[in-house]
Amino acid sequence: MPPDEPAIRARGLTKRFNALVAVDHVDLTVPASHVYGFLGPNGSGKSTTIRMLCGLMTPTSGDISVLGLDVPREAEALRRRIGYMTQRFSLFEDLSVRENLEFLAAAQDIPKDRTKRRVDELIAQYDFADRERQLAGTMSGGQKQRLALAGAVIHEPELLFLDEPTSAVDPESRRDFWEKLFELADAGATILVSTHLMDEAERCHRLAILNRGRLVADGSPAQLTGALEGRIVEVVTPDARKAHRMLAGQPGVISVAQIGNNLRVLAEPGEDVAARIQASLRTAGLQSEAVTVPANLEDVFVATTGADRGRTADRPAA
């Protein structure tokens, strides 16, 4: 594979389950040695896309090339070069840490004489030295995820698929987990990680946002937030609840969310958005101070996946 060749290239990727279109004409390019984030609400087609990319599901239509291999035709050859970590903990709960790793080494055809060295190495790297005999089922969520990651990289794959790896893990374990991901990326691995957590998305080199099976945004976090320049307005007002109700129905306002005592408004693109909001609140008899602020990824998420999926306080969050 030439060095500038992307690790994953998918064109027109589509998956239908009877009437349901789970993934709808997704084009995707994942550059090598990147941590590539896959952001989207539940049911947006993240898992299905990942499964198609690693050859576990056959696309209804579309072309996939992963590490230069044609998928699903060359899926068997691909399996030796990728690691896959499922959404659910899928190691054996009734095997110990070491036994799980030894089993995976065998499943990956790692020669017997190299297995012990590799397993020892992983146990040290992933901090299992004092619990290598512990049964996987008795460990905490964070430890399980760490073990699953160790298992997924046992054969030193060039490409790692992680399907919502940290959704059930506390913040500290999550930070450790991401440290490990960057170590792997530094060592040259490409990582595709799906998530619905904003703080994780912010760490990725590049992001794709999926909504209802469609790719709605693709770029680096800075590019994505930069695109919302001038559309995010923070409103400081004594009666935030009232201002919220008032603004929610306004033309030009996509979503309003209450953050503490303040409001965060996502507006349609336009001139002087902040001044217009302040003016309309004044007409309604509300004192306020409105300023444009830099967008964050949560704003991008809300803007691309639709206000109904966002964090507006009077509607259920995604």
């Binding site: 499964r51 690693c54 576990l56 599901m57 056959t58 699903p72 899926a75 068997e76 399996r79 030796r80 990728i82 896959y84 499922t86 659910r88 903990f89 899928s90 190691l91 054996f92 709960e93 995976l104 499943a107 990956q108 055809d109 298992g151």
Partner: protein
Amino acid sequence: MVKELRQLRRDRVTLAMIIGIPVMQLVLFGYAINLNLRGLDAGIADQAGTAGSRAVVMDMAATGVIKPVVAAATPQQLMDELRRGEISVGVVVPPDFERRRAEGREAVQVLVDGSDTVVQSAAIQLARMPLDYGRSLASVTGLREVTPDQISVVSFYNPERRSEVNIVPGLIGVILTMTMVLFTGVAIVRERERGNMELLIATPVSVSELMVGKVLPYAAIGLLQTTVVLLVGLLLFNVPIRGSVLDVYVAAVLLVLANLTLGLLISTRAQTQFQAMQMTFFVFLPSILLSGFMFPFAGMPRVVQWVAEILPLTHFVRLIRGIMLRGASLLELWPNVVALLAFTAVMMSAAILRFRKRLD
């Protein structure tokens, strides 16, 4: 309660089982199980070859209890056929039949395979039946007729008619059928339920490696179970092993493989462990009833016999009774060996074909 019914309605396999199991039981018990045996395969060694001897044999066949399928020259040939399980009854008419008949001595011998006690009783009844026994012929020729007390029954392999001798060998098969099918079926479905399978199929492990890896450990467990039943049978019930012990184990391995591959096939179909258990039961029930373990094969209608021929347990019961009770060798019983191997091959191929390394 409404919730249970709603869930049930969506579980189509369970629904099929709810209807299927009672219907199957009714059909099996109603049609298949017949303790009034008819049509036992019989071998005839008529060494006298007189009009009188032929009349006696024809009378016996006319009862419908036996169905002559083999004509042998000597009683020794009949014994071989009996040991191989080709026939379950042999009728021997000695060369001096006419003289014995005239003198009122024992004139006809019925040899019976006692490894099935029901067959044994049927043969004894046959000998006691109020038959014509050439009486009509006798009245014409003026010769003396054959009376029931001139017919002797010689029972082989289990002359004391101990039912445990009959049951224990087959029980090995029943235990193996139940546990082996269930183990593999449930083991694979459990991995699918827990998500282990998704991880496994994302690795380079091939389908056949996956299947063989699942089957082998359980085969070892199956042999362990065989040993336990054999030992208990020997120590507690004094059940003999007249053939070679090696043959017994080879037969057990054949059955274990057949059942494990069946379990694999079930696992490719069942979505939950509960469904896997139900499907196992669906196979297990006819196995017990139709295999000849509980009720003699000869008593079943032809169509049911065809169904029974498909079941691995049927062939195993024939093998194991042949080896343990009649001292037959595996080679002599080869058709059953072939049947078990064929069953295994078909199930394994079907399981591998059905099992995709895909999630859709």
